[in-house]
């Protein structure tokens, strides 16, 4: 099966709508963090001109003094971000329940369809998520082992170049493990929707499917990494020039466009995963 064709099938309006649905929840949770940062800055800086004089003081110094002026503020912000991150993880189960279901049933991607699909399938997906915690933990174990083994070797090593080699090897292995664990999670969810059997079954079949289709899955995710990287570079270069000239609202909108495109790329990958399983799943039965 031509992987490029599979990817290409994801480039459509429906994918954008699905991405927008995911972006919406991201935005909801992030607004609280936007507000949190704003409040901390306003309270810390008060009527000071320190933010306006960042060019004079340097960003690092200005932020350092702002946070120092409101003791505990930085820790508070980090804590809030952490807890909202946890909240988002649970929310992502809800989001994905709707998205996967709509993709499976090939329904219209409207907000209310997605919302009702999310509600309908949330608990099923929550169970799949919980069983996949094992999946993620299993992916971490070899990484932790690698780090330990390399560390013990490098401590005794006379060769600094080994550090560089280790970082490259670790990165490659970590990426492969990440891809497989995410793919297993995705296919667990797909199979859970396709098949009425329990979540252990969907997890097991997810694992089986992923390892049967290693090459295509790796290619699919490779596309995702490359496209995200290119997107990031273009965005960063553009914003480094444009940020100083654009109004704040426009900057904010551009940020949201960036996040939306990121979700769009994810939806393309999920769509690709669906395409991969469409035919072979009949063989699972």
């Amino acid at each position: 099966m031509n992987i490029l064709k599979i990817i290409g099938r994801g480039f459509n309006l429906r994918s954008i709508k699905l991405a927008a649905y995911a972006w919406f929840y991201n935005m909801l949770i992030s607004l609280i963090i936007y507000f949190g940062f704003y409040m901390v800055f306003v309270i810390s800086a008060g009527k000071s001109m320190i933010a306006e004089k960042i060019g004079m003081y340097g960003l690092f110094t200005a932020l350092l003094d702002i946070f120092n002026n409101f003791p505990g503020s930085f820790t508070l912000l980090v804590s809030i971000c952490f807890y909202f991150g946890i909240l988002y993880i649970i929310t992502s189960v809800f989001i994905s329940a709707g998205i996967f279901s709509v993709m499976m049933e090939e329904e219209k991607a409207t907000f209310f369809t997605l919302l009702s699909a999310s509600i309908d399938n949330f608990f099923r997906f929550l169970k799949v998520f919980l069983i996949n915690v094992i999946n993620f933990a299993l992916a971490l174990i070899p990484m932790a082992f690698l780090v330990f083994a390399f560390w013990m070797t490098l401590e005794r090593s006379l060769n600094e170049t080994l550090f560089g080699i280790f970082i490259v090897i670790f990165f490659i292995i970590a990426m492969i493990l990440l891809v497989f664990s995410v793919a297993i999670y995705d296919y667990s969810r797909i199979i859970r929707l396709k098949d009425g059997r329990n979540f252990f079954f969907s997890f097991r079949e997810g694992v089986r499917f992923v390892f049967k289709n290693k090459k295509n899955i790796l290619l699919l995710f490779l596309f995702y990494f490359i496209s995200t990287g290119v997107l990031y570079i273009i965005f960063k270069l553009f914003m480094s020039v444009a940020e100083d000239f654009l109004g704040m609202i426009f900057v904010f909108i551009l940020y949201q466009v960036f996040v939306l495109i990121r979700y769009f790329l994810k939806i393309i990958i999920i769509n690709g995963e669906f395409e991969l399983i469409r035919v072979p799943y009949s063989e699972i039965q």
Binding site: N26, M27, I29, S30, L31, I33, Y34, F35, F37, Y38, F41, V42, S44, A45, G46, K47, S48, M49, I50, A51, E52, I54, M56, Y57, G58, L59, F60, T61, A62, L64, D65, I66, N68, N69, C81, G85, Y88, I89, S92, I95, S96, I99, S157, L158, E160, T161, G164, V182, Y185, K236, M248, V251, F252, Y255, F258, V259, R262, Y263, K266, I270
Partner: protein
């Protein structure tokens, strides 16, 4: 429990404060520069002749040294005080290891570490036929630690009278430790510092200024002449203090290298079979000789060659213009291999250890920083000597000031420690962070070994002092300020100076009393915070005019500072607040109301610990803060978008 800890720390600092006061008064007995110069050198300079044979396989070194020492005081000397710093690495209860707490933190490390030591097998005064080997007492003048053997006193049968010279012959043996800090051996890489018995400085009152080896960098030694022969297996490449005057083959396995250097305070050297030697020359103004730049690169760091040579030459040129020409014929830069990285970033006379890691991105300028700092220390410590134990600011603080200046110039306009697409941090910002993050309890007086850990030492001695000097430079003017340092350095070079001398020369040079700057911020727990307290504008009836009132406050410390009041419409009122008063109220009537007021608009005074209160606006418009919040919120959004959907 936490509070009890702070109370105990407070009392310790209080006790140290009292101790510090007593010691400080004794140390400042010499206000006369000429006296220091007479003590420091001339024809009666101490001379070291050392023959060392190293056995890298056994991690041992055997040495014989002959020291010519003259009593340059007016008082009889009844004992000979030597530093045996290598004993600091001899047992886990030494003062040095106590201060690092490394073995308390990890018993594993205690089992694994190869300790070292120095044993004086025989010591005699050869021109008196006096064997003093057995008549020794270990002293711990700094902390009374009986387990510390870095300071030893040998009793003499008869005193050394004023003007008399003695010739001391010492046979010693070293066991070379792992490189934990500065010196030792790791694999085949060897860096030898503090490795030979060294005579302590004798003060003019006849007392020995003998210190133990501490974790914090501190040096105090005489300007001496060195002639050192090192016998080593022939596959090693050696770099050392001074000029290499010969490198001869002893037999089919051994080489003998001879180095000599006059008028330095110490002798250090490095050896490694995998060095690549790169040589270059530089002719500096005022020197009638070329200075050889000897770069000993670790063989895997060939790519660092240009980076090192460029920064070395730049730094030497900078010093030539802004302080003095480097006065020695050689400068050796050691690029330690990975296993010897604990020896990175140190400086000894005419030799310094750099720091280069290939895996670090080029945007991180740590390698340049390490070299610049090492070269700064050649001048402020190497040539301008001081008691680094009692007054570390005089070498470390001033060296760091020059480091910031050179980083500034080398990277054009802003001294960028980190310059990448994502983040730019400047060297002075890091120094300031180290200083402002000290709590009042952590700010410290002079005594370097009483500064509990590296964080406090760096914050007090490196950061606060260098920021003080930069702030002074900003208000006095660069040309005049550097002119003073040039003049002062020329006056005290190759001798020891102290805070009293520095302050007095500073005031004389500028015809003013800058005691307020030094007394407040050097060796004290004071900080500086000048703020805009309030801004107010009231309309005056129907006149169309405003009564504007701005109140400034000195929340802590004193520094004469520029003030600026900006009115709506852009008109600026500038003031200079020189009087040492807590409050200053500025009231004036104008057609425009105040927009904002600012303390130190030129950002000249980097010692101010709180820049937030340096400005205040009448009506706050938060657009910039909103933008900042949007930026940081976006980073968070991105993190969420990276999570699994």
């Amino acid at each position: 429990m936490r509070h009890i800890k702070y109370i105990i720390i407070f009392y310790i600092f209080a006790a140290l404060h009292i101790t510090g006061e007593i010691v400080t008064k004794e140390d400042h007995e010499s206000r006369d520069l000429k006296e220091y110069q007479e003590l420091s050198g001339g024809e009666n300079r101490t001379k070291y002749q050392i023959n060392a044979r190293i056995f890298p396989g056994k991690r041992e070194l055997e040495g014989v040294e002959i020291i010519r020492w003259t009593n340059r005081t007016g008082i009889d000397v009844n004992s000979l005080r030597l530093n045996l710093f290598y004993n600091a690495f001899g047992n886990p209860k030494s003062t040095f290891f106590n201060e690092t707490s490394i073995f308390k933190a990890s018993k594993e490390k205690l089992k694994e570490y190869n300790f070292g030591n120095i044993e004086v097998k025989k010591i005699e005064i050869i021109n008196r036929n006096e064997n003093i080997t057995g008549v020794l007492t270990y002293l711990s003048p700094d902390d009374k630690n009986a387990d510390d053997r870095t300071n030893v006193d040998f009793s003499l049968k008869k005193p050394v009278q004023p003007g008399q010279t003695i010739w001391i012959k010492a046979e010693f043996k070293l066991k070379i430790p792992d490189i934990f800090y500065k010196t030792g051996q790791s694999g085949k890489y060897i860096f030898m510092a503090h490795w030979y018995p060294r005579v302590c400085v004798l003060r003019s009152n006849g007392e020995w200024a003998g210190h133990q080896l501490h974790r914090m960098p501190a040096f105090f030694s005489e300007f001496s002449n060195y002639h050192v022969r090192i016998t080593i297996p022939d596959n090693f490449i050696v770099g050392a203090t001074g000029e290499k005057i010969s490198g001869e083959r002893l037999n089919d396995k051994l080489m003998v290298f001879e180095f000599t250097q006059d008028n330095v305070q110490d002798f250090a050297w490095a050896a490694y079979p995998n060095f690549i030697e790169v040589r270059d020359k530089i002719r500096l103004k005022g020197n009638d000789f070329d200075t050889d730049i000897i770069l000993l690169l670790s063989h895997r760091n060939r790519s660092a060659k240009e980076r090192y040579l460029n920064i070395v030459k730049f730094a030497l040129k900078y010093f030539e213009e802004n302080l003095a020409s480097y006065p020695y014929r050689t400068l050796t830069v050691i690029d330690p291999p990975l296993q010897g990285f604990n020896s990175a970033g140190h400086a000894y006379p005419t030799i310094l250890t750099a720091a280069y890691l290939k895996i670090l991105p080029a945007s991180l300028k740590y390698s340049e920083l390490a070299v610049i700092h090492g070269i700064s220390r050649q001048f402020w410590y190497g040539v301008a000597g001081s008691d680094g134990f009692k007054e570390p600011w005089l070498d470390e603080g001033i060296a760091v000031f020059y480091e910031m200046e050179i980083m500034d110039k080398y990277f054009e306009k802003r001294n960028l420690l980190l310059n990448s697409l994502y983040l730019r941090i400047f060297d002075w910002e890091i120094k300031r962070r180290a200083y402002i993050n000290l709590s009042p309890l952590e700010r410290s007086k002079y005594l370097s070994w009483n500064i509990i850990n590296n964080k406090f030492f760096v914050g007090n001695m490196y950061s606060k002092v260098s920021l003080l000097l930069r702030s002074l430079k900003n208000i006095i003017g660069e040309e005049k300020f550097m002119g003073f340092l040039r003049y002062y350095f020329d006056k005290i070079k190759f001798s020891h100076h102290n805070t009293v001398i520095f302050k007095s020369e500073f005031n004389n040079f500028f015809n003013g009393d800058y005691a307020w700057a030094f007394d407040q911020f050097v060796g004290t727990d004071r900080d500086l915070d000048t703020a805009v307290y309030s801004v107010r504008s009231d309309r005056i009836g129907k006149s169309g005019k405003y009564k504007n009132e701005v109140v400034f406050v000195r929340k802590s410390g004193y520094w004469p500072v520029e003030l600026s009041v900006i009115l709506k419409g852009g008109k600026e009122i500038k003031l200079f607040w020189e009087k040492n008063e807590k409050w200053k109220t500025v009231v004036f009537i104008d057609e425009s109301p105040v927009d904002f007021a600012i303390v130190d608009p030129g950002v000249k005074i980097l010692l101010d610990i709180n820049l937030v209160n340096n400005s205040k606006v009448l009506k706050k418009e938060n657009s910039v803060l909103r933008r900042l919040a949007v930026k940081f919120g976006f980073y968070f959004q991105n993190v969420l978008a990276s999570l699994i959907l």
